[in-house]
């Protein structure tokens, strides 16, 4: 919320652009030097696959933030969508049996639930005109408590047989690349293209930069704004589709703090929090940075685990300092 809006980045290959990438590289080097297994396929697969949920959501968040909005509800929305998906699948087993139709039905439910939740946020924000912060803060509490209520305070678990059938969606993949990684990569690529090459991306940036100008330029401001939230909701649904096969369960504590992590990834990646400029590839880098910090802390065990949060915080700030240094040096 400093003067970043004014000086939207332009120069290529500047420190500002390279900042997050350099931070990422530094982390990789650090990890490799701490533990020889760090660069092993198994560990990289783990880290990337885990990043996928937050990553997919963060790509959607990039559009919301670029359009001048924010969404605090994604974490609890994910928990809610997962809960609904599990309940629906369990209910459908008698009629569909365990097999591809069941999985497909579950996926459809998740996507629809996500889109509907996003639409609700979008309508309240774009049509009714309430601050996104308030709408999504309220939604965060609502979904979180609905999930707890659905689970009767406990955990919603997918039927064991169904889960065994569904499990490969998280753990298997093509040519040794796990599905979540593939899906995340696809979402990131499509997102990057949508941001840079499509009218929608342009309109998001215009909306975030100056809503008046966008309106005077025949941009359907309300519709674009709503679309960003619907898109994010859909991506939350998609992330859930990847999440449920992993542990087969959802509870009130699923997805806690995902919203902050997603927003942090977006900002670390160079998107401007006040809107007007967004960078999907930067978000991907941001997500990887955050995942790697956790991974490295677990691999290193240098310090008291109580201090993990301190190290995380310091690294996050440093990653952004790198980036801003480039900027202020103009």
């Amino acid at each position: 919320m400093t003067a970043t809006t004014e000086a939207a980045p332009r120069r290529r290959l500047s420190l500002h652009t390279l900042g997050p990438v350099m931070a990422l590289i530094a982390l990789v080097i650090l990890g490799a030097s701490l533990n020889s297994n760090f660069l092993g396929a198994a560990n990289l697969t783990n880290v990337l696959a885990r990043s996928a949920f937050i990553g997919i959501i963060a790509v959607g968040m990039t559009f919301v933030i670029t359009g001048g909005g924010i969404d605090l509800s994604v974490g609890s929305m994910a928990a809610f969508v997962a809960g609904v998906m599990i309940l629906a699948m369990n209910a459908l087993i008698p009629s569909l049996g365990i097999g591809v139709p069941l999985i497909a039905a579950g996926m459809a439910v998740a996507l629809l639930a996500g889109l509907a939740a996003g639409l609700l946020n979008g309508v309240l924000i774009a049509k009714v005109g309430i601050e996104p912060f308030i709408v999504t803060l309220g939604a965060m509490g609502i979904y979180r408590s609905l999930t707890t209520w659905l689970a009767d305070g406990g955990t919603l678990s997918l039927d064991f047989a169904a889960r065994s059938f569904y499990r490969p969606v998280y753990y298997d993949g093509i040519l040794g690349v796990a599905w979540p990684i593939i899906v995340f990569a696809l979402v990131a690529i499509v997102g990057e293209i949508a941001m840079r090459k499509t009218p929608f991306g342009r309109h998001c940036a215009a909306l975030g930069a100056n809503e008046q100008v966008a309106k005077y330029s025949a941009v359907k401001v309300d519709r674009v704004r709503m679309a960003t939230y619907v898109l994010l909701g859909g991506l939350v649904g998609l992330a859930t589709i990847m999440y449920v096969p992993r542990l087969g369960s959802a509870s009130g504590s699923t997805g806690v703090l995902w919203e902050l992590e997603a927003i942090a990834a977006v900002i670390i990646g160079g998107t401007v929090l006040k809107g007007g400029f967004g960078r999907v590839w930067g978000t991907v880098v941001g997500v990887l940075i955050l995942s790697l910090i956790d991974n490295i802390l677990n691999l290193a065990s240098i310090v008291s685990p109580y201090l993990n949060g301190t190290i995380q915080g310091v690294i996050v700030i440093l990653a952004v300092v790198l980036q801003r240094q480039g900027k202020s040096a103009e």
Binding site: N37, A42, D152, G154, G252, N298, L299
Partner: protein, 293 residues
């Protein structure tokens, strides 16, 4: 006949164990309301100590409670407010986490945290030997987590078992999954895992099976989640035993408190529900299919 009100203040259902606790609290309240029409209940759940104090204040100021059943979110901050409730002449039942000043409560019902760690530790000490490696997943950093872990380490000390690593899995499946994945990347030889909680055990098991190292190690969780109990009963080699820490203790506390209010039965005192070792042989008696936990 005069109605009497019992206030129940417990932490909200943020993880499996607390979910079970919430379930048992609500179930016993429903049951008691049906049995004793003269009893009214106020149930409040809190996400932090401050909110719990607020809830208790509200119960006293607006609901005129005659008895309070509280599972302190944390011991220290709840001590003074509960003491204040007691000074108003209200019956106080404390559950699970003791207050930091002795003698405030009329009735104390609790699980045994050091016992929980000790029982698990004893199993490890008996079944592993010199040079065997284990990793530990701790809960959310709290006093009770410290008590469990301290008791555990005290028991295995001198047994020659190496504790390779301890990290916080925050009693959360996803966190435990991530931590265990990283432990597996980091250590080539792990013989057993103490996951300290069944939610974490679920995440740990999944990480192990993904790494295809099922044969190599076994896992001990805790608190007796029904899925885990079922797997022990069915003889899962990865889950040899479990240690109980029953969420149903809240029901015991509420029921005893109610009994004390409606009858002359003496109920004050201390009820410590010991942590028991669940084995394939006795698992059936710890299996509650209706509980959400």
């Amino acid at each position: 006949q005069e109605t009497m009100t019992i206030g129940v203040a417990i932490p909200s259902a943020t993880h499996g164990f607390m979910g079970g606790l919430n379930y048992h609290a609500q179930a016993s309240i429903e049951r008691l309301e049906a049995t004793y029409p003269q009893l009214d209940f106020v149930l409040a759940t809190a996400g932090d100590a401050g909110k719990m104090v607020n809830d208790i204040e509200d119960m006293v100021a607006t609901r005129n409670i005659d008895a309070l059943v509280v599972l302190p979110f944390e011991s220290e901050p709840l001590t003074a407010p509960v003491q204040f409730v007691k000074e108003q002449g209200i019956w106080v039942t404390v559950v699970d986490r003791g207050l930091s000043v002795e003698g405030i409560e009329d009735l104390y019902v609790a699980g045994d945290n050091p016992g929980f760690g000790r029982t698990a530790g004893e199993y490890f000490a008996e079944n592993l030997g010199e040079g065997d490696n284990i990793v530990v997943l701790r809960g959310i950093p709290t006093t009770l987590d410290n008590e469990r872990v301290d008791a555990f380490t005290a028991v295995i000390e001198g047994s020659g078992i190496n504790v390779l690593d301890m990290q916080h899995g925050n009693w959360n499946r996803d966190d435990a999954f991530n931590v265990m994945q990283d432990f597996l990347s980091k250590y080539d030889d792990i013989d057993a895992v103490w996951a300290a909680d069944d939610d974490m055990a679920i995440g740990v098991l999944e990480a192990i099976s993904q790494a295809d190292r099922n044969e190599e190690m076994w896992v001990v969780g805790g608190a007796g989640m029904k899925e885990i109990i079922a797997r022990i009963r069915d003889g899962d080699p990865m889950l040899p035993v479990n240690v109980t820490y029953p969420p149903a203790q809240i029901a015991t506390a509420i029921e005893l408190t109610a009994l004390g209010l409606v009858s002359d039965t003496p109920v004050s005192g201390r009820f410590i529900i010991g942590s028991q070792l669940v084995t394939p042989e006795n698992a059936e008696s710890f299996y509650f299919p209706d509980s959400p936990f």
